[in-house]
């Protein structure tokens, strides 16, 4: 393959017609051909990379409905949304009071309890630790609930409070609140 070096081209006798400023017509052809080739390669590369992102069928599975009518105060259930566990907790008045009181505590990711719920008795959280993705314990009464009465992630020791906020351990963020809507008093749609 020929070298697209400008200096050799312009001085070589077979280098084609030269402009007054010393550039050859061939330089333009080299540059534009290279630019076209490189653009094509990058665009094709993008198709390859993009093929690894979630596909249409995976994206289509993105909402789940949950019936809450059978739940009792203090009870928690785990449902699956987009392959992940979602915690649905019917909070007791004590838990709500604790979460409200903790609004004033020293929070790593400050957020009011009222901003994390639509109806204060229903706490709905993505059950995935914001550290490295384990499922925290605390859904069953017999589980450890951590130092703040909510959830405890056994993987690297993160403690969450009764509003699902991070209080201690390596996790940087509160447990995520998914987008959800109350379809009626006892049914929610997540996603």
């Amino acid at each position: 393959m020929a070298q697209p070096g400008t200096s050799t081209l312009t001085t070589s006798p077979g280098g084609g017609r030269q402009h007054e400023d010393g550039t050859a017509r061939r330089d333009f052809l080299y540059l534009s051909a290279t630019a076209f080739g490189a653009t094509g390669a990058v665009l094709t590369g993008w198709a390859f990379i993009s093929s690894m992102n979630p596909s249409a069928d995976v994206l289509a599975l993105s909402s789940t409905e949950v019936n809450l009518s059978a739940m009792q105060p203090g009870q928690a259930i785990t449902v699956v949304w987009r392959g992940k566990p979602v915690f649905v907790r019917y909070r007791t008045p004590e838990e709500i009071a604790k979460a409200k009181a903790d609004d004033k505590a020293d929070l790593r990711d400050p957020e009011l309890d009222s901003k994390r719920v639509q109806k204060s008795q229903w706490l709905i959280l993505v059950g995935v630790c914001t550290h490295l993705g384990c499922v925290p314990l605390g859904q069953k009464p017999t589980d450890p609930h951590g130092d703040f009465g909510g959830w405890f992630c056994p993987c690297h020791g993160s403690h969450y409070d009764t509003s699902g906020r991070i209080r201690k351990g390596p996790a940087p963020k509160n447990l995520e609140v998914p987008t959800y809507t109350f379809l009626n008093d006892t049914t929610i749609r997540i996603g």
């Binding site: 987009r82 566990p85 550290h131 384990c134 020791g157």
Partner: protein, 412 residues
Amino acid sequence: MAKYDYVPSPFMSNPIVKWVDHRLPIFEMVDQQLIKYPAPRNLNYWWNFGSLAGVMLVVMILSGIFLAMNYQPSTVAAFDSVERIMRDVNYGWLLRYMHMNGASMFFVVVYIHIARGLYYGSYKAPREILWWLGLLIFLAMMATAFMGYVLPWGQMSFWGATVITNLFSAIPLVGKSIVTWLWGGFSVDNPTLNRFFALHYLLPFVIAGLVLLHLWALHVHGSNNPLGIDAKGPQDKIPFHPYYTVKDAFGLSVFLIIYAYFVFFNPYMLGDPDNWIPANPLVTPPHIVPEWYFLPFYAILRSVPDKLGGVTLMFGAIAILFVLPWLDTSRVRSGRFRPAFRVFFWLFMVVTVTLGWCGSQPPEGMALTIGQICTVLYFLHFLVFLPLLGWFERPLPLPASIAEPVLKSAAK
């Protein structure tokens, strides 16, 4: 293109060999690079581990390809297909035990190979690129082993994959999108398993390519040796065959006995029983640990109570090895002539093994504190001890040539 006084082996005058070589000089290459290839005459047994690593790569590729003929990369079928390999496929248990324990053996061999390089200063000029290629092989091996461990789709497969891919979520701004891209979904799931299988099949061949480059770089200046001094002439070298082919074959036999012990008598010693439970995305096992060969790095990750900090330090622990040739300021290669370095070298060995132990413990109390101390020592070794040692240490006098001490001890 042999730089030494090359005398061809007798088989090179065979007419068929000549006919082939005239068209593709493959016999000449083998003769020059493997048979007549001059190696330092004083290599000790620590120099066996390079060829052992090469053998392990072949064993992994062979056992892997035959496993792949019966393995099914889907979340519904993967766990059962591995069970079928274990119970119904002829010698399937043997293939799997060879592959499972082979991965561990491969890492043992490569860790010793790296430690050899650290002790004898093999990373120093003119072998920096050789050293880098070795580190790239190490990184590719870690990626391969990590993805391989996901394939049986047990609890540890699933949660290991979740925790390790989530490391990338520590990257500011784009972290979350990168993780979604790695997963091909919103959690580790079927698309993840499929791509991990494709990459697990591919990467060992990338490693094989890197190994060829590694050997190419090696053969430009030849092997380092226990004295760490350059060869002065032909009297310092001996032909690779038969001297080192025999020594490597002997070492391989001993190694295979150890490997066979694990395969036939103790195949689960290095594994985690939780991987016999099929993957369950809703329940995390109480104590997640990676395979033993990742434990020191896992301990570094957990010793920092901050997500981004831990992840950065863990990758930094390997990245720092790339600049090691410039952090070690001593001009003497071999630890044999560096009394103070030797102390720190062994301290470093103790630190890495202790980190490995910390990584296997729950991250609390003593184990956490010891892990934090060792993490600090790990980085101090490279960033402070090695640069300073080069300045303050008085090395012992170096021998005049490789041949000199060999001949002297033979005369006794």
